[in-house]
Amino acid sequence: MSINTLAASIIDGLLIGFVYGIAAMGLTLIWGVMEVINLSHGALIALGMFGALLAVQSFGLYPYLAFILVAAFGLVLGIIVYSIAIHRILDAPDLTTLLSTFAVSMIIIGAGTAAFTTSPRNIEFSLGSVNVGSSIILGTKVVAAIIAIITTVLLYLFLYRTRTGKSIRAVANNRAAAELMGIPSTKILALSFGIGTLLAMGSGALIATLFPFTILSGSTYELKSFVIGVLGGLGNPAGSLVGGLILGFIEGLIPNFMDTSWTPVIEFALFVLILLVKPQGLFGSEE
């Protein structure tokens, strides 16, 4: 194996890592703001994949335009899901929100199976490739990574530079105090769930341009999001990006030395290790 092949495969992994990063940001944002572990995260990612497929195949949209539409749809869907399935049980014991979001997941997967079956789909789309030594890097991966980076930057500008974004952070920090400052906390919570869903479905739409998928594919990415969330510190979106890159790096590196099927073993060993040694994540959550 040449150094070039190794470099190419690591670059490849890192590019995917950015996309994992925004998927995990969706999960960690919802946790950070309302302490809900969103078990519908994976199903929403898969829904994003099929949303993109539908937009591209049935309406002939350009895949990245489909990404924007799917993300926008995710925002609206998230607000609706919050209103129906989350809001009333927000202060109930943790198990209740777990069950509720799991139910949302089952509904999406059930309806998706009925509509699309579970046979693999993919979006026929290519942007050519770049040669790195003897290896190639797909153009779609480069663009997906760039879109993921732009999404992260926009999320940060939103959370740190706008009044609404700051009020999301205020609600995350102290909901009762936010309400006492005149911040309509219910609206802010609904919006946050919407943004979390936007990120999940948006990441799904990007992943759909890279790999084949079924309605069940989301669970893999949900698990990756948990690993990344714990790596970067749950509730810390910046940590998610770094966590995504670490995971991408591992996925690029491992197949050069051992069978690819070892990758999840190593990832989850890392997950357990982080939980044991530094449960607040490598970069800690702010709290």
Partner: protein, 237 residues
């Protein structure tokens, strides 16, 4: 007339436990009203009920004559009812500037944000020096100042304080009451809940004494101060 905030026969509590029994209060515009009472008498519950953080069971709350009993907290803030909560409740992960900005969340307050930030910094110069620091890194006294400053940012018509002197060193308590005095000179209507009864009585205009969830005594501060019952129970004389 002149009453800006009024409670009429309000009862309230947590779950099955009734804490407030039929209490009535009137806050005069531009005056400092103090609510005193022993631990567990229901002082904080009164403030929380006014803000609708807990729902009143019966009775009415009027603001400038309008019934606001069932308005949620963030709508009451927009009207001008602002509570500086017990234990400060700052946004500890956010900077001092951001905390002040969040204080000015309502439309009314946002228009005057720049000017009000200047006012707060003038009152609390230490906050200005540290404006980009996270609120969680401030000392207890500075946090209390920020909590008050954040309350002032909301352009309050009635500013309510829940135990502002709690946990502060004596010198800071003095400073705090100096600030309350300055706000009083500016004719801000205030409702003060305080365990430092002695100091509270010296600055306030009107006093209510809550005993086991019932309003036991009320009157002008100068009179209440002289009552034997108050002297014995709260002033230790």
């Amino acid at each position: 007339m002149g009453s800006i905030l009024e409670l009429q026969n309000v009862s309230s509590g947590y779950g099955e436990v009734q804490v407030l029994w039929d209490i009535s209060m009137k806050m005069e515009e531009g005056k400092l009203t103090t609510l005193i009472g022993s631990n567990g008498a229901g002082k904080t519950t009164t403030l929380r009920t006014i803000m609708h953080l807990i729902h009143p069971w019966s009775g009415k709350i009027l603001f400038r004559g309008h019934d606001i009993t069932n308005k949620s907290a963030h709508l009451k803030v927009a009207l001008g009812l602002v509570l500086v909560p017990e234990g400060r409740q700052l946004f500890t992960n956010m900077s001092i500037m951001e905390n002040l900005e969040m204080g000015a969340f309502s439309d009314k307050a946002r228009k005057k944000m720049e000017g009000n930030i200047e006012k707060v910094f003038e009152l609390f110069p230490r906050l200005k020096e540290r404006r980009n620091q996270k609120a969680g890194t401030l000392s207890g006294g500075e946090q209390q100042m920020l909590a008050i400053g954040r309350g002032m940012m909301a352009e309050p018509d009635v500013l309510m304080f829940d135990e502002p002197s709690l946990g502060l060193a004596p010198i800071l308590v003095q400073e705090l009451f100096g600030i309350v005095d300055r706000l009083k000179e500016q004719k801000l209507t205030m409702l003060l809940v305080e365990q430092n009864v002695h100091l509270a009585l010296t600055v306030s205009d009107y006093v209510y004494v809550l005993t086991s969830g019932r309003m036991e005594i009320e009157g002008p501060a100068a009179e209440v101060q002289k009552m034997d019952k108050v002297k014995k129970a709260y002033l230790g004389i």
